[in-house]
Amino acid sequence: MEEEEPTEISVDNRAAIAISHNPVFYGKTKHFNIKLYFLREVQKNGDVKLIYCKSVDQLSDLFTKPLPVSRFEFLRTRLGVCSP
């Protein structure tokens, strides 16, 4: 079971994607944990690819903030959680 193309990871933050590509060291990005540089490495190798997705399609919103009912139910269905 091999994957040929890089795994796409959706992120709704363009700045984060830009930083992940750009190896330049800025004052504002100096507080990263060293292990996060691993991300740049895997991205360079082509294992992983960060792509931008709109906040509306961001499934992992469900794991980071409390949401209103309609949004919560929409994302829940997208995750595949439903009644039998």
């Binding site: 709704d12 919103d61 980071t64 995750l79 595949g80 039998p84």
Partner: protein, 230 residues
Amino acid sequence: MLNLGFVKSLSEATLYIRLKDDDILIMSLYVDDLLITGSNELQIEEFKQEMMRVFEMTDLGLMTYFLRMEVKQRKNEVFICQKKYAKEILKRFQMEECKATSTPMNQKEKLCKDDDADKIDEGYFRSIIGCLMYFTTTRPDILFVVSLLSRFMHGASELHLRAAKRILRYVRGTVSFGVKYEKCQIFKLHGFLDNDWAGSIEDTKSTSGYCFTLGSGVFSWCSKKQKIVA
């Protein structure tokens, strides 16, 4: 296992894989239980016979119940849930007859460690969170709020207990829910990643969450407070 030609998985200690003549055989071990799947039914049958000769064991057929997880396998879809466990939780905390809510969390409420509300019995609070933690194996929708509340295990107050009860009320309304995996056209690994920006009131640390899907249904998810201040 290694003698039979299996290779131990690097990322999952109890998962063994065997590749033989273009066929794959996957086996998962849990203490004295064995789960097996593969691309060739004949090979699976052979393997079972082989195992039965060496060990004393019974074949329980298609997987339906494993570690409190109910598995329903139908044509082109697999559904996993913990309906029975959900009912057990509700019974244990006497929440069987409560009014159900549609979300597990109040959107406007911000929980923090030192509120002025009365302190409560920590043991009771911990046991609720512990039960719900195990319940998140098939329920990614309550994971965020459970992990949020678990930060207040020490010194839990009335407000935290109320939030925990709200999860139970949500569970009450969605007892039979689970994750459904369907056959789909585009079979591709896709991940989603998000952070909240300094969501924790006390130390301004952020929470990150991710999930991975192969077209339909998520199979890996996480919600975790970051270790360093960003």
